[in-house]
Symmetry: C2
Subunit: 363 residues, 2 copies
Amino acid sequence: MAALLDKITEGHKRNRVTISDMADALGLTKSTVSRAMNGYPDISQATQNRVKRMAEKLSYRPLSHAQAIKTGRTRSLGLVLQLSDHDAQRPFLAEFLAGLSAGAHAEGWTLTVAASSSTEDMIETFRALLRDGKADGFILPRAIRYDPRVTLLRDAAVPFVLFGRQDDETNCAWFDILGEEAMCDAVRRLHALGHRRIGYINGGTKYAYAHLREDGFRAGMQDVGLEVDDALIIQDAVTSADGAKAAAALLDHPEPPTAIVCGVDFAALGAYQAAAARNLSVGRDLSIIGYDGIPEGAHATPPLTTYQVDNKAAGERLSSLLIRRVRGEPLEDLRETALASFVERGSIGPVPDTSNNTNKHET
Amino acid sequence: MAALLDKITEGHKRNRVTISDMADALGLTKSTVSRAMNGYPDISQATQNRVKRMAEKLSYRPLSHAQAIKTGRTRSLGLVLQLSDHDAQRPFLAEFLAGLSAGAHAEGWTLTVAASSSTEDMIETFRALLRDGKADGFILPRAIRYDPRVTLLRDAAVPFVLFGRQDDETNCAWFDILGEEAMCDAVRRLHALGHRRIGYINGGTKYAYAHLREDGFRAGMQDVGLEVDDALIIQDAVTSADGAKAAAALLDHPEPPTAIVCGVDFAALGAYQAAAARNLSVGRDLSIIGYDGIPEGAHATPPLTTYQVDNKAAGERLSSLLIRRVRGEPLEDLRETALASFVERGSIGPVPDTSNNTNKHET
DNA sequence: ACCCTTGCCGAAACCGGTTTCGGTGTTCAG
DNA sequence: CTGAACACCGAAACCGGTTTCGGCAAGGGT
């Protein structure tokens, strides 16, 4: 009889300890246990401790679905990916997810992800997740300048946190890596190596990061006292093909740059091709600095000097921030930045001998 | 008064239509509505239709958390990633997730993902997700030969579906791409081009796919009447560095192969390097075929001939299979396969002139 | 005409929590 | 000594569903 019962309960719900079990074990009522678990002030400290110790002992954790039906919150973070994004943030995704998951797990939260193809689709996806209470808040990767997701979620009064800074920063929580500092630093380093004509290949201008990085590049140029030649700035290179084309344009300039800073590593790798096509040796004839720290860069020849961003750490921070946001902390306290770390490899070097610089192609 | 009420309800739960609203609108009770929605046989067909039409009209969807508390199921698929995996299935992840998400969304399900670093961690992650009812079943990417996840989940009587085939196929639902067919086909094509000495660089032998693909390679060799020289088979190359080393070993063989088949594209790209280091022109002096269809392959010089797998479609199929599994369909009906599609690019060609084949290095 | 199915649905309990409301027992001022 | 304030907890309603149980009416057999 008892065995039969065991078998039945085992099959479906494995003897999970419920709040009633807790109440029985403690000689209290469900309501008291609930309020103790949630730290309500009208439960004495002594009782709270007693309850929490018992929870520990019985390894009781309130079932999030059960609470959700009353509270509406389910302790889960939402992430909707956009495949149309350039390369679907491919290199980052695994690490980024790992970070998000780790940050969520640390607080006992989970991560629900959805993918969308179009922007329309994306909005619909948000709506569906919200309507079904599948996410208490969202992480918004790859901030766009005037991000439609932000207006959508803000109107719906749904918590979110941006990865990247939006134009209208004041109204959101965000985490970002200071790409502009990296770009600025890149210029300084190149200047220290003697470079005076420095080109810049920017990333996708629809994204917020591109503008920031360009600003950083310009700031660096100003710092070292160089004037920027707008002909040496090219926009919207996010793939290696884009980068090759952009670099080609720079190198075919009457006064070509001796160094190129790239907003994204893929573009930098494209620049390698353009250099090779012109018989320029990267690191000697042409210095290249990228940004992102994709693995392909390390395996290129010569290995790409770049600024490495820690996407796993970013994910962790974002999870943490969003959880705090859902818990009600004010926006102002929920903004963090981090720096990308410089990784010096073989793709930069001192400026080449300038005597026959313009005819370098014939070397 | 009414306005105040509106404001309050709006803030927290946006006037979601509940089962009681349905009951009122229809003049039925909650229980009838519930059973009608779930297609219970003791509700007349007429009433079922009436209820479902009304659900459509009011756009009512039962709240999954609310049902979960009684049923234990929440209409969500679980996916736990292992970062330790070679390159964390990096190239595939975005597409794969998109497919999973699409497949889930089509049935009104969602996807919750978690990441784990170690195997221990992974088991703990499964447990946590199950204990909190965050997933009704799991998708298990990258099948391992004797997969610990399989035993874990089978013991716990939790539905799952494998991406890839396990050694013990009879006990699971799975979806897989027939990599062995691709490898076999590769050999046939190379043979048709005149190649007689063909090397094989396999992927990670801990994974199930590697054994299957090697079998496919051997089967192809047998098909065309070639004997396999075990010295021309190298195992466990999953990165481009691995591939370069493996290919180097093959090319330094006294009787080097004129063609190399690779179990994974990354290894194939590594073989490019080994070829370049020996002044062999890929596509002329040495033919290379890969498998996976990573984007890097298309941009290599020459572009890599490979077998493209559609990871998005795979994800969709896996979601669908798992959902059916959770709904109770028997294992036997839940096995599907697909083929990778051959993509001919520049990395293969007719066998080079054999007269000075062994001295090719000096060319 | 009577009983027994069978089809169909309502009433109410239940799931595992949260929250409102109220009722004790102390304490402390008057 | 009384009354009010306060700290603390129990009783019960509630959230949005599912499920068990039972009741009623129509149909079918004798």
